[in-house]
């Protein structure tokens, strides 16, 4: 089977899985769970195989498929792997089986529907990452909404309807503006060059005047900024996380938030370089605001899921800072930080789910001394906490260190020529590491230490399934922390291409 076909298989396997689930006999939850797990594991194996075969030295798309879909409008079914998405596809495929395995004991009703929704979300997320045609991208982007809506709305907590509506309406609002922008972009390309195409590789050559670029960037940026989420468009995330079932939170934090940063990296900034350069100070300020604001809010929460939700906002602020730094070290750091956050936040939410299954409360005040009650759990918790704080040897350090280094290195020459803002922002971002330690250690302190206290004792420590899930995540965290050379190598050409595209100038009448 050719590699391109394998990529298609990886993408459609979840859809196939949904079909199999529907056909599966009802009332046999064990079978349904095993089926879901098997499908996800197969997907992971295939993705790993493609990852290994990914050629770091080749620029451009690999394992590409390009089939006409609505040829008159220039819409093609075009997917492929390149440095932009290879790590994210790997992350999605890696978290898939872990998400399914984590849900085994958490979901009681409508299991078939549940796993079907998980599959659909997986399908949509993978699709957004591998799509190279803007229409296809938008299609997958929207597809993700409905299964997520149902995941939160059916299996969620008390205020789930409020949370899920907030999530869907917020996201959809941004998406609609993005659709208008996409259509305008394609129409403009058609007007100026006569080419009708939704393909990214064509649209990235378009030339637009600065005000048009600014408006279009605003439309795209709104949609992606809501997704990342960037302050001040972030308030949907804490509610969504708190009300969603564990699986939903893990999917959300693990992969879905990266769709926003991926969108910025692949589409938003490269398509409108002049506008991006113009608004970089503002966007960078918002990124650093996310870092600090998210951290400050995480410091005063009592709901353990909200702590992690706000920490996500803070961590993804680093990603945006790295992308905006336009420094190769910063960009690579941003990509690693995306993956790291997916692993760490996903892992932490899984752990929250595990304790919730035992104690049925998310209030931090209800807990204490878990290091004594659940020693194995506490070790994993401590490791993931330290990864979140950015302790060296974990993936969190790799991401944060490279982002901060890149942001600083880009800001320093600007400072010597009088533009102080980037340097000030970089320094504030570095100070953010202190806040990171503050809120996570406060969490760990109240959670693990002191007199043992927890509702619904006695309960068992982690069982084999839970240990395997967390063990895999922790292994990945250390792998990325100690040996990041290989993943960095795979994304190098994409990082360079991103930098080149965003620092270029594509105004009409330019010779470049």
């Amino acid at each position: 089977m050719s590699d391109a076909a394998v990529l298609n298989l990886i993408l459609f396997l979840p859809l196939l899985g949904t079909g199999l689930l529907v056909a599966a006999p009802a009332g046999e939850p064990g079978f349904v769970r095993r089926l879901a797990l098997v499908v996800m594991i197969v997907q992971f194996v295939l993705a790993a195989w493609l990852y290994a075969r990914f050629d770091s030295t080749r620029a451009g798309l690999q394992f590409e498929t390009r089939l006409p879909w609505i040829a008159q409008w220039g819409v093609y079914y075009q997917i492929g792997l390149d440095g932009y998405n290879v790590l994210l596809v790997m992350l999605t495929a890696f978290l898939g089986p872990l998400v399914v395995a984590g849900a085994f004991t958490a979901i009681a009703k409508d299991e078939k529907l549940f796993y079907a929704m998980v599959f659909l979300v997986q399908f949509a997320m993978l699709g957004t990452f591998v799509a190279q045609d803007l229409f296809l991208f938008y299609f997958f982007w929207e597809t993700m909404l409905i299964p997520m809506f149902l995941l939160i709305g059916i299996w969620g907590g008390e205020r789930r309807i409020y949370a899920t509506l907030k999530f869907v309406l917020y996201t959809a609002f941004g998406s609609i503006l993005m659709l208008a922008a996409v259509i305008y972009l394609v129409w403009s390309l058609q007007n100026t060059t006569g080419i009708t195409s939704f393909a990214f590789s064509d649209l990235v050559k378009s030339r637009l005047p600065l005000d048009a670029q600014s408006l279009l960037l605003a439309a795209f940026a709104l949609s992606f900024a809501i997704k990342v989420p960037m302050v001040p468009l972030h308030t949907w995330l804490p509610d969504a996380h708190v009300e969603a079932p564990t699986t939903g939170s893990v999917i959300l934090a693990g992969v879905m938030l990266k769709m926003g940063t991926y969108g910025f990296m692949k589409l938003g900034f490269p398509l409108f370089p002049d506008a991006t350069q113009l608004y970089t100070p503002l966007l960078m300020a918002l990124a650093v605001l996310s870092i600090v604001y998210g951290a400050c809010l995480a410091l005063v929460q009592d709901d353990i899921k909200k702590i992690i939700a706000y920490s996500s906002i803070s961590h993804l602020g680093y990603v945006m800072l790295g992308l905006l730094s336009l420094d190769l070290v910063g960009i690579q750091g941003a990509i690693i930080q995306m993956v790291s956050h997916g692993l760490v936040a996903g892992g932490l939410f899984l752990m929250v789910g595990m304790i919730y299954e035992r104690c049925h409360t998310r209030e931090l005040r209800a807990y204490g001394g878990l290091a004594r009650l659940l020693p194995v759990y506490s070790v994993f918790f401590m490791i993931l906490t330290l990864a979140s704080v950015g302790l060296p040897t974990t993936s969190g350090f790799t991401g944060e260190f490279l982002v901060l280094l890149g942001a600083f290195r880009a800001a320093w020459p600007l400072h010597t020529t009088g533009d102080d803002l980037p340097l000030v922002l970089a320094v504030v971002a570095v100070a953010g590491v202190v806040l990171g330690a503050l809120y996570m250690l406060r969490f760990a302190l109240a959670f693990l230490y002191g007199a043992p206290r927890a509702p619904h004792q006695p309960f068992a420590d982690l069982d084999r399934r839970e240990k395997s899930i967390l063990g895999l995540i922790v292994a990945a965290v250390f792998a990325l922390g100690l040996f990041p050379d290989e993943p960095i190598g795979k994304t190098e050409l994409a990082a360079k291409s991103y930098r080149q595209l965003v620092t270029a100038s594509r105004l009409p009448g330019d010779s470049r």
Partner: protein
């Protein structure tokens, strides 16, 4: 081989951490833990000795070992590599030597603790990171070790975590360190953007070369020093060290006396090439160092917990080391680092022995009369006390006198004022240390009866270590560390006119030490009322000193509370809930409201609908009639 030195303790961590704790089902017992937990550090020490011999055989040319490449981004390669030169040799010997010895001591001290395996796992982990720190070639590897020892410190301070106060002390240490780390990171970034590398030897060579690099050495110096301030507990980031005494005493000895806290000193010494070109930064270091030394000594004078006295003493002695660094006497600072490791470790372990003997008592007001009952502990403690006070010919005398001399006479920032403050501190040091000795070991016993009954000398695994460290405290001064390091860290030039003062100042140092001894003996060796009367006379200052100048309270009022207040009231309640969510809810309310208004058109009355139809048709007709 360098890699092996670093990895052996890590192996110990894995073995002890997994197999000897509840995590791995307690597969192995205490004997395995003792064997692995001590054996591996000792093996590391032997390998360090071997490395030193190899270094000497190679004419002292630095050994470099690259392990692997961590990342390659563009033209910048980040590698994990180890570097071994004279300075590394001294540091590594202290770390592994004193470290191993403290591990052995822990066998006796932690014998009955249920977290025995966990303790040695954490100690081994600490040793691994500390070795990364001192053997790392680039600032990146150093930073990994730097943060790692912070982690180990956090875990060990909060070792008895069922008492939340201990865990809080651990958190305070970690967060305070992090503040310093922010400065450290910025310093690293400035260096990286100037040189494209973080390898310390290459950076040092660039600064030592003919052309001065176009980067502000003072800026780098200050930023790196901020990191050192955090790790080495200098003002204003010193607040974590006294609280860190909540951890088991071997931890205090190893981490908070002998090794981790000296990481800042090592960093500055290692980057001496930068500081030679940064007079402003060096001046700052000297001032902060001597101020910290003085400040901490004043607090130590009135402390009543045996470990707290030693903690403030450590802060003070670290201040001395920074004073030396600030005036360019890098080798002397390292010398004091070494002697301090000997006598401070001895003092802490001795204190541990006392605490062990008294079944947990730490308040010196409830001690006394122990000299005869635990003689081995007493004699080692006494020797170490004399060493720290600077009584010749013990180790502390040589290193401290060196610092005092260069503080006075160095052409790189030495001044009489610095000497004066440092000398006053030395006087106080002698005073409070002998005070501690007298209150703990002499006089009539103030112990409670149950405690008194319990008093016994510690096992030989503990006393043996004490005696070894006492011997080193006594004789360690004859290890000519500054001379050994001079090839790499030259001593600063001294003002010729001041040479005449050298001997008089030496005499003054000795006199101060003896004066401190005498004052302490008179005040605390006699009837108890003497000290009491003095305290009553100076009740106000005494209160200030016992409360550590209320620095913790100041920080809480000015930093902690405002941060939480801003995060809660402004960011969360006002920002998130009122402003952002409020806007969203307002928009939703508008949509709902307008829907309600438009909904009223649907009256259900067919007549009304018919009217609308009619109006529509009339309107359409009119419009078409107009536009035809």
């Amino acid at each position: 081989m360098l890699t092996a030195i670093v990895l052996l303790p890590l192996l110990g961590f894995v073995l002890n951490g997994v197999l000897a704790t509840r995590l791995g089902g307690n597969r192995f017992g205490p004997r395995f833990v003792s064997a692995a937990g001590c054996g591996l550090p000792i093996a590391s020490f032997l390998l360090v000795v071997k490395a030193v011999l190899e270094l000497r055989a190679g004419g002292w040319a630095p050994l470099v070992e690259t392990v692997y490449r961590w990342a390659l981004i563009g033209d910048n390669s980040f590698e994990i590599a180890f570097y071994f030169d004279r300075l590394s040799a001294v540091m590594a010997l202290v770390v592994t030597g004193v470290g191993s010895v403290i591990h052995v001591y822990s066998i006796g001290y932690m014998k009955d603790d249920e977290g025995y395996g966990r303790f040695f796992a954490y100690l081994n982990l600490f040793l691994f990171f500390m070795l990364l720190l001192v053997l790392g070639r680039s600032l990146l590897v150093l930073f990994v070790g730097w943060e790692g020892v912070g982690l180990a410190s956090y875990l060990l301070i909060g070792f008895w975590f069922h008492d939340l106060a201990n865990a809080r002390a651990g958190k305070k240490a970690f967060v305070t360190n992090r503040i310093g780390d922010a400065g450290f990171l910025l310093g690293m970034f400035v260096l990286f953007q100037a040189f494209g590398t973080l390898d310390m030897d290459r950076i040092g060579a660039a600064f030592a070369g003919p052309a001065l690099p176009a980067v502000s050495a003072s800026l780098v110096g200050v930023l790196l020093f901020i990191g050192a301030t955090g790790k080495s507990a200098q003002i204003p980031l010193h607040v974590w060290l006294p609280d860190a005494m909540a951890g088991p005493t071997p931890v205090s000895a190893l981490i908070h006396a002998a090794t981790m806290v000296t990481a800042g000193v090592y960093l500055v010494a290692r980057m001496s090439a930068v500081y030679l070109h940064a007079p402003e930064a060096s001046a700052l270091i000297a001032v902060v160092g001597v101020a910290t030394a003085f400040f901490a000594a004043t607090i130590a004078v009135v402390q009543t917990d045996i470990k707290k006295v030693l903690a403030y003493s450590t802060i003070s002695q670290l201040g001395f080391m920074f004073l030396a660094l600030g005036v360019g006497a890098y080798g002397v600072a390292i010398f004091h680092l070494v002697t301090h490791a000997f006598f401070k470790a001895c003092l802490f372990l001795g204190a541990g022995s006392v605490i062990h003997a008294l079944g947990g008592e730490q308040d010196v007001r409830r001690m006394g009369g122990l000299a005869r009952r635990i003689p081995l502990t007493f004699w080692s403690f006494a020797i170490a006390t004399a060493a720290i006070a600077g009584i010749p010919p013990l180790a502390g005398f040589f290193s401290k006198d060196g610092i005092l001399w260069y503080a006075f006479a160095s052409t790189r920032g030495g001044s009489p004022l610095l000497w004066l403050v440092a000398a006053a501190t030395a006087l106080m040091t002698a005073f409070y240390m002998f005070r501690l000795l007298w209150l703990t070991f002499f006089g009539r016993s103030r112990m409670t009866p149950e405690v008194e009954h319990h008093v016994h000398e510690s096992p030989s695994s503990m006393t043996g270590v004490l005696l070894l460290l006492a011997a080193l405290s006594a004789l360690g001064g004859f290890i000519a560390v500054p001379h050994f390091l001079e090839a790499q860290l030259p001593l600063p030039p001294v003002d010729e006119h001041l040479h005449a003062y050298e001997t008089p100042l030496l005499a003054v140092s000795v006199a101060l030490a003896l004066a401190g001894l005498a004052a302490a003996a008179w005040l605390f060796g006699g009837p108890a009322e003497r000290a009491e009367r003095l305290r009553a006379r100076f009740a106000g200052p005494h209160r200030w000193l016992s409360s550590k100048y209320f620095v913790d309270e100041l920080y809480e009022r000015c930093l902690d509370k405002p941060l939480v207040w801003i995060s809660d009231r402004i960011f969360l309640r006002f920002g998130d809930r009122t402003l952002i969510d409020g806007t969203l809810h307002a928009l939703a309310a508008i949509a709902r409201g307008s829907a309600a208004v438009f909904g009223r058109l649907q009256t259900g009355s067919l007549h009304l609908y018919a009217w609308f139809v009619l109006l529509g048709i009339v309107g359409a007709l009119l419009w078409s009639w107009r536009h035809v």
